[in-house]
């Protein structure tokens, strides 16, 4: 007899786990299918864990989740070839009982998250790829086919948390093929360093204190992208990501970009003496609000990266993924309780929950940013360079008067942007996109 579940969740990443957990915890029969060798084996992230999103799924996660360090200091760096201009924010307030942000390593974290999902009662099968959605005569999704023998598995709803490059939704025509300008390729390395070295190098007092550095400007060599450096307990995660369309245009190999970043005079001393433990690459959907596909239909819903739920401006993704997973889970639980089928009309509840959450509000706020950056790439290099040159001339004491220095700084700004009109236009566009 064919198997039937209340819900099938495709993917064991943050969104799929949050969805499966929420539904299983409420007593629904849930089957989760992942193509990786073990849950999370295909998952890649920087990685920062935003506690709030996970707390709303598993309130006491801090008790046993494998966390590396909580973030007490955030640095924002603008790079040019030889310098960085930075803003640092460090606060002892971040040393709270329930810290807000953590660095994590995804391999142990995902293993933990998945164990929670199974404890909640969901059934997980790995090394199994969903190849096709099964539809009834009226076009409603009623189950899935996999790459294993044994036919279809049925469910009242199929939740697609299949990730950025998920092909099931594309193949079924539920979402369009990804556009190169909507996807970033990020490469990351994990470098081992002894715990004491990490703490000394980043001036960390508490054993679990951590630093996050987000890097803009020259790190992306003129492409739309950013870099990052996160402190783990006894390693450092360092990476850089840019739009695929830009990589294609500039022909810069991603690993070369990362090598340049690692060799930067501001970065190299932080990595000195480390041993590279891991090298990974992953795609990040960065199309923003305008790239979000249709999210629900009869018998299906999309969550996480598969729905382009990434706030590229604020480097947030996994929290959006967990939130969309939780919201779809809550929706299905509610529909079940009311005895309603998971039709597109009833799943409007999920879309409404999303619209009312920070997920949609934030993505909507920044909806113009992807296009703005794509069309105005100079923003990412002209201003960091101008800032660096201005600061250098102000700080260098060489007999020139301060008024002359100010003149040099303004000249640097004009030179980097080309004209004052250009600067004014940029400011206007930026303000409008940020509004």
């Amino acid at each position: 007899m064919a198997e039937h579940f209340d819900a099938i969740v495709v993917g064991a990443g943050p969104s799929g786990n949050a969805a499966a957990y929420t539904m299983a915890k409420a007593g629904l029969s849930v089957l989760q299918i992942d193509r990786g060798e073990y849950p999370g084996s295909k998952n890649v992230q920087g990685a920062i864990l935003y506690a709030d999103a996970l707390e709303r799924v598993i309130p006491d996660f801090r008790e046993d989740a494998p966390l590396e360090r909580h973030v007490v200091e955030q640095r924002m760096w603008f790079l040019d070839e030889t310098s960085h201009t930075g803003a640092h924010y460090r606060s002892d307030d971040f040393n709270e009982a329930k810290p807000n942000r953590y660095t994590i390593l995804r391999a142990p974290f995902d293993k933990w998250f998945s164990s929670k999902v199974r404890e909640a009662g969901a059934i997980l099968i790995c090394e199994t790829t969903v190849t096709e959605l099964v539809k009834d005569a009226r076009g409603r999704v009623i189950g899935v086919l996999t790459d294993r023998e044994g036919g279809a598995i049925y469910a009242d709803i199929v939740v697609l948390g299949e990730g950025v490059n998920g092909l099931i939704g594309q193949r079924a025509g539920l979402r369009p093929e990804l556009k190169p300008a909507h996807v970033a390729l990020a490469v990351k390395e994990t470098h081992f360093l002894p715990e004491e070295t990490v703490r000394e190098r980043f001036n960390l007092q508490g054993e679990e204190d951590g630093v996050v550095i987000e890097v803009f400007g020259g790190v992306s060599s003129g492409m739309v992208g950013t870099g990052f450096l996160y402190t783990n307990r006894e390693s450092i995660s360092i990476g850089v990501g840019c739009l695929i369309s830009d990589f294609a245009e500039t022909r810069i190999p991603p690993y070369e970009l990362l090598d340049r970043f690692k060799a930067h005079p501001s970065v190299a001393p932080l990595l000195k003496g480390s041993e590279m433990k891991e090298y990974v690459a992953h795609l990040i959907p960065e199309g923003g609000y305008n790239a979000i596909p249709r999210l629900t239909g009869d018998g299906w819903a999309i969550i996480g990266d598969a729905g382009q739920f990434v706030n590229a401006v604020h480097r947030e993704g996994s929290n959006l993924a967990m939130t969309t997973g939780r919201l779809v889970g809550e929706t299905v639980v509610q529909l079940k309780a009311e005895g309603k089928p998971c039709t597109d009309a009833n799943l409007k509840l999920y879309r409404d929950k999303l619209a009312g959450s920070f997920v949609m509000k934030d993505l909507k706020k920044y909806r113009k940013v992807p296009a703005l950056l794509e069309k105005n790439k100079h923003l990412l290099t002209a201003y960091p360079n101008a800032m660096s040159q201005a600061l250098q001339s102000m700080l260098r004491v060489d007999g020139a008067s301060k008024r002359e220095k100010e003149g040099q700084a303004l000249a640097a700004l004009k030179k980097n942007r080309g004209s004052w009109a250009g600067v004014a236009t940029d400011m206007f566009k930026l303000a409008r996109a940020w509004r």
Partner: protein, 278 residues
Amino acid sequence: MHIVVCIKQVPDSAQIRVHPVTNTIMRQGVPTIINPYDLFALEEAMRLRDEFGGRVTVLCMGPPMAEDALRRALGLGADQAVLITDRRFAGSDTLATSFALATALETLGKEHPIDIVFTGKQTIDGDTAQVGPGIACRLELNQLTYVAAIDSLDKAKGEIVARRRAEGGVQVLKSKLPCLITMLEGANTLRRGSVQDMLRAARAKVTVWSAEDAGVGDLLKCGLRGSPTVVKKVFAPQPREEPAEMVAVEGKTPAQIGDAILDLVFARQPKLEAELTA
């Protein structure tokens, strides 16, 4: 037929890292796998089951997390899984391990008499190839080690014919059942379980036995106390100090290249040069 396959959960040796400071193996975060040789044993057992009927039980001794390995075996198509796990088994060497496994096999056999015990030829973490023969010895079973293929099985007569890789050739051996077989790599191709196998495995309850459940009475033969082997030191091999050297070959004749290489060799091994030219 009742076939039991002994499997071991081992760290994925391709992903093992040595701690740069303490020089110990970093187990944390290293994915675990079923010992690859054991998978050939499992597949062979399932083939025999599919042809002659009966059931395949997978048996594993290890920490509680070894349940993952057993569940994986169920997903591949095994019928039943038993984990023997007990703090008192910790630190077992091959002698103590084969004692515990042999005892558990006896206990299993009381329920359903066992016709064949399979193991892999060795594990990839210990590389001793001793546990299989150790079990056979204790249970007084014929042991067919390093088996590359099973030629035939006569259920009525209770006989099996297997091909064994031996030094300098292949031995074709006939044995009475029950017997113990250790399988070589590449003997077969591992199947993928069906969706139903995977669902059954995900839902299955792995039987977990303590020392008492497994029927182990003499605890002095278990764990650290029952293990005469002592690991004195663990260290990572040092990389070779002398780096490889390149010999430029462009535009040279083979004879010139040969001379260039010989010059390099002799420069480092003057004794060799003296002997060869003497």
